[in-house]
């Protein structure tokens, strides 16, 4: 990654952080609102090597664990797995297609929720309700936000998008 493209990526990640902690609480219902931190992790993972993506996942997870501890370490574990798999998966499997990227982001959010909920000891109806209703909805809204981000910042992120 060149120096200018690194700073552009850093700017996009900073924008997503501001969206998460300043814009999101003011505008959306928390259960289904896009998760911009997860989106930032996925965007970073698309550009970085799996090791760096895993480390970024661990750090973002640690941040989420510190802000709202359900079970400390659960989000760090989930984001590490998602970051690594996203980076590895993109290098090996995925085409440069906007919808594929969006699906990729949505699945990432859902997998994160599965790992966090299971690691936190959630069970019963509330687990099913979360995994079958709220998590897919949040995955969908995050995927839509991801599509907008990729289209608007496609040059900055240097991501090739076939129609």
């Amino acid at each position: 990654m060149t120096e200018p493209s690194r700073s552009k990526l850093a700017l996009v990640l900073l924008l997503l952080l501001v969206m998460q902690f300043y814009v999101r609480p003011r505008m959306w219902d928390a259960d289904v609102a896009p998760d911009f931190v997860m989106l930032a992790l996925m965007v970073f993972a698309m550009r970085a090597r799996p090791g760096a993506a895993a480390a970024a996942g661990f750090l973002t997870g640690l941040m989420m664990d510190s802000l709202g501890p359900g079970r400390f370490g659960a989000a760090a574990l989930a984001n590490t797995m998602v970051g690594y798999m996203a980076s590895y998966g993109r290098a090996v499997f995925f085409a440069d297609n906007l919808l594929v990227h969006a699906g990729f982001i949505g699945v990432g959010v859902w997998v994160r929720d599965v790992v966090v909920l299971l690691a936190s000891g959630a069970a019963g109806q509330s687990l099913l309700w979360q995994l079958l209703v709220w998590s897919p909805l949040q995955g969908l809204t995050t995927a839509i936000a991801g599509m907008v981000l990729l289209v608007v910042f496609r040059d900055w992120l240097a991501i090739r998008l076939d129609a």
Partner: protein
């Protein structure tokens, strides 16, 4: 033999991944008291700008979107307050007749709830107030609708609340009118409901009855609405009943909360002197 660079990089990626996985898994088995110290340290250093940013956003949302609601509530309370002096006078007179002491006034700290994106948000909440505002552990947290939970830890500028949806939450409760006592706990099947456990078999509670905190235990003052009874969920034959309760307040939807401060001199430490400090 020199390894190809790709293989070496793949190996280093795997080492980083496995290292992060082990670290995260290890953190999950560290006692909560220690992890809370780590979390508090991170919140008060690296994440301080983020907490500040989210606090500003929550305040802006409250001031903008809830203005009409707050005005309506203020009007209702103003109307109610007009009858207060007469009621207070009557209450004081009755207390004197019964030789009761004065009711302890409750002080509170208003706080914004800083919701997080985690799917476990609602089991614990992050509040925008901390020890600098007079918040301490074990202080009850309420919303205008009813009980939300209790402060589990407080650091300088933020505090963590264990809500009624958390599996470890318990509170002593009684039904409106003071007839039936029990223990309120989150429902076993779903985290959206509560249960009133340990109700004696001889007592029957009709659906729709309001459940309030009983004041027993020294954490929650008497009379905070907890929820309304929906019906019997199970019975231990001839011994006790468990009722399902629809909670009065929803932690996942609440935006604003009040932390009830302990009245001065209400510490119960003197009642339980440490071993060795007792006079012979």
């Amino acid at each position: 033999m020199i390894e190809p660079p790709d293989r070496a990089r793949f190996r280093s990626d795997t080492v980083v991944f496995v290292g992060c996985l082990l670290l995260a898994t290890g953190m999950m088995f560290v006692p909560p008291a220690r992890t809370e110290r780590v979390a508090s340290g991170i919140r008060n250093s690296v994440l301080l700008p983020i907490v500040w940013l989210q606090q500003r956003a929550a305040e802006a949302k409250t001031s903008r979107a809830r203005l009409t609601l707050i005005q309506a509530q203020r009007d209702s309370i103003a109307l109610l307050a007009q009858t207060m002096p007469a009621l207070r006078e009557e209450n004081d007179r009755l207390r004197q007749l019964l030789e009761l002491g004065q009711r302890t006034p409750l002080d509170f700290v208003p706080a914004e709830i800083l919701h997080q994106v985690s799917p476990t948000d609602g089991l614990t909440l992050l509040l925008s107030v901390g020890t600098a505002d007079g918040v301490e552990a074990f202080q009850p947290v309420v919303s205008p609708e009813g009980l939300l939970g209790v402060v589990s830890t407080a650091d300088r500028h933020t505090s963590i609340v264990t809500t009624w949806a958390h599996p470890e939450f318990r509170a002593s409760a009684l039904t409106e009118g003071g007839g039936v006592f029990g223990i309120v706990a989150p429902a076993a099947e779903t985290s959206a409901l509560l249960e009133l456990r340990g109700v004696p078999y001889r007592d029957t509670i009709p659906a729709g009855t309001l459940v309030l905190t009983s004041g027993l235990g020294g954490v929650y003052p008497k009379g905070i609405p907890v929820g309304r009874v929906m019906g019997v969920v199970r019975e231990l034959s001839g011994w006790e009943r468990t009722y399902q309760v629809r909670p009065a307040a929803n932690p996942a939807q609440a935006a604003h909360a009040l932390v009830l401060k302990s009245p001065a001199g209400s510490s119960m430490e003197e009642a339980f002197p440490a071993e060795g400090s007792q006079e012979p």
